[in-house]
Amino acid sequence: MRIATPLLAVFRTLVYVFLLAPILVVVLASLNAGNFLTFPPQGLSLRWFWTFLNNDIFLNAIAYSATLAACATAVSLVLGTMASLYFTRHAGKHAEAVRIGVLLPLILPEILTAIALLFFFYEIGVGTEHKIALFTGHVLMTLPFIFLNVNTSLQGRDDSIELAARTLGASRYTAFRRVTLPLIAPGLSTGAVFAFIISFDTFGISFILKGTGSAPLPIQLFDYLRFNFTPEAAAVSTVSILMTLVLVVAADLLFGRRD
């Protein structure tokens, strides 16, 4: 025990380093002044960020991904919250079936779901050209995250709070809007942030269903990385990491500490 404890501490620290290393390395690489991803870097510079800012392909991809994520999150937020309300309050003995059903897109391998959607949209004659398949896929991928987060905030709640509002004269709708909604707002915002990030980063669905024309950021990045080794990809990645970070921090500041 005496020897094992410090060994365990060293091991744990190494795992934490292991978790952070690839992310830190990407950020460091984006600051490389050289033409290639060499280590140690050939001086620090922001030149690759300037290159990125002048590259319409990546800028468009970011805008496209953000729009897609925002739309998918909005739809998932409504549908997922409804499903969560049903699950926590009305599902009764079917609760487990409902839970598994809503979580199916998370449980099933994403790439397989993507393939299934591809075939399905071809079979019904829609194909992938109209981006409906892509959008549907993103709604499916984000839905479980809304559901799980809203569940957590609903399950911690005392049901009689909404009933109390009813006895005080609030209609079903008013009770939900004035009492339940503010109480689950943190869950909704966490869920929304999660959903947005998942949609923004998801690969399989976007890869298979993107159709032709503009593609989401992860696909654009993947295509680029297969043939290029300049630090520009690192700059793009760093920007996407920063966007995520800003989103998480903003949500935490807005909704995190209350209750």
């Binding site: 009933l163 109390a164 009813r166 006895t167 005080l168 004269g169 609030a170 209609s171 109480l183």
Partner: protein
């Protein structure tokens, strides 16, 4: 003030009956407790009155108007929940104002009424606090004020004291009772605690298995229980099964082991079919007096003695089985002592035949 009446109220969950056609009238300003073990239907009754449960059959009337089909928000009730159900994201003031806002009361009136309700429950200094920053007793008072500030037709309380510690519970008991008398609101109170029911109510409704076993004043429920089960649920009861020596208009004479006759006054309890040869009689622990050996009507031996502060509790072995007796602390009796037990026949209560209900 409003009169509540439940008429043949029935509630089925699938095939199981939670309420088997119960009827109850609560008069103006009356404080009625629904008392019973968990699962007896007392909470279901309250939920039906509040409108949170659809009733299967029967009617609920406020002042003779059927409100059975109304939504909870249209019933004009004030309710205090076991968990208090305060809105955690609103201050005390906002909690109290909520019901008035729903009723579209003008802003100035809201401020005035909230202030006076806050005064009533002595919470004025806490007006701008959130529920989390209040003690259990204070939260309880906010819940009470929130229910009363809307001046509802009736007040429903669902085990409101269950989450408080013993001392606070005694305090709140008196507080709620005084407040209810002052406001004069018709009140229905659900509890599983017989002490609460006894001390607070005008009338206690004892419920078992979705049925009303007895509805009467606290003294009557305690001293004249309608059945052995009520007798045992409300306080401690000694049940003596004694042979009948004779009966007349003045009552029944039973014989104690040892031959001492006891004359029991007649009661409302239904007479037994056929020739009654035995009678079950209830004696409360404090209605039996301990005397010296050879005295009293029944000899016994002290098996257990527990000092409990204000009085002493004894388990006494007798020929009628073990009896539970309480006595003053000034009496010096020890475990193993032989004693005599003395009964006051006027305070013995004959019980109806336990056959129809399963004695526990």
């Amino acid at each position: 003030m409003t009169e509540v009446s439940l008429r043949s109220l029935q509630k089925l969950y699938g095939k199981t009956a939670a309420l088997k056609a119960i009827s109850l009238d609560v008069t103006h300003g009356e404080f009625v407790s629904l008392l019973g073990p968990s699962g007896c239907g007392k909470s279901t009754t309250l939920k039906c009155i509040a409108g949170f449960e659809d009733i299967t059959d029967g009617r609920i009337c406020f002042d003779n108007k059927d409100i059975s089909r109304k939504l909870p928000e249209d019933r004009d009730i004030g309710m205090v929940f076991q968990s208090y159900a305060l809105f955690p994201h609103m201050t005390v003031t906002q909690n109290l104002a909520f019901g008035l806002e729903m009723r579209r009361v003008p802003k100035a009136d809201i401020a005035r009424r909230v202030a006076s309700a806050m005064e009533m429950v002595q919470l004025t200094p806490y007006a701008d606090r959130y529920p989390k920053a209040l003690s259990g007793g204070q939260q309880q008072r906010v819940a009470l004020a929130r229910a009363l500030v809307i001046e509802p037709a009736i007040l429903l309380l669902d085990e409101p004291l269950a989450n408080l510690d013993a001392k606070l519970r005694d305090e709140m008991r008196g507080f709620i009772r005084d407040l209810q008398k002052r406001v004069g609101i018709t009140t229905i109170y659900v509890t599983h605690d017989q002490n609460e029911a006894m001390t607070m109510s005008d009338r206690v409704v004892v419920m078992f298995d979705g049925e009303i076993a007895q509805a009467a004043a606290p003294e009557d429920v305690y001293n004249r229980p309608a059945s052995e089960r009520v007798a045992r649920f409300v306080g401690n009861a000694n049940i003596l099964d004694l042979p009948v020596a004779g009966a007349d208009a003045q009552g029944t004479t039973v014989t104690l082991p040892g031959g001492t006759p006891l004359h029991i006054a007649p009661c409302a309890a239904p007479a037994r079919a056929g020739a009654p040869d035995r009678l079950r009689v209830m004696a409360r622990p404090e209605q039996i007096t301990l005397t010296g050996p050879g005295l009293g009507q029944l000899p016994g031996r002290i098996e257990k003695r527990y000092f409990s502060g204000g009085h002493v509790e004894y388990t006494v072995a007798t020929e009628c089985g073990a009896l539970f007796v309480t006595g003053p602390t000034t009496q010096h009796v020890s475990e193993g002592d032989t004693v005599g037990l003395s009964f006051d026949p006027a305070r013995l209560w004959p019980l109806p035949d336990p056959a129809p209900e399963r004695a526990q």
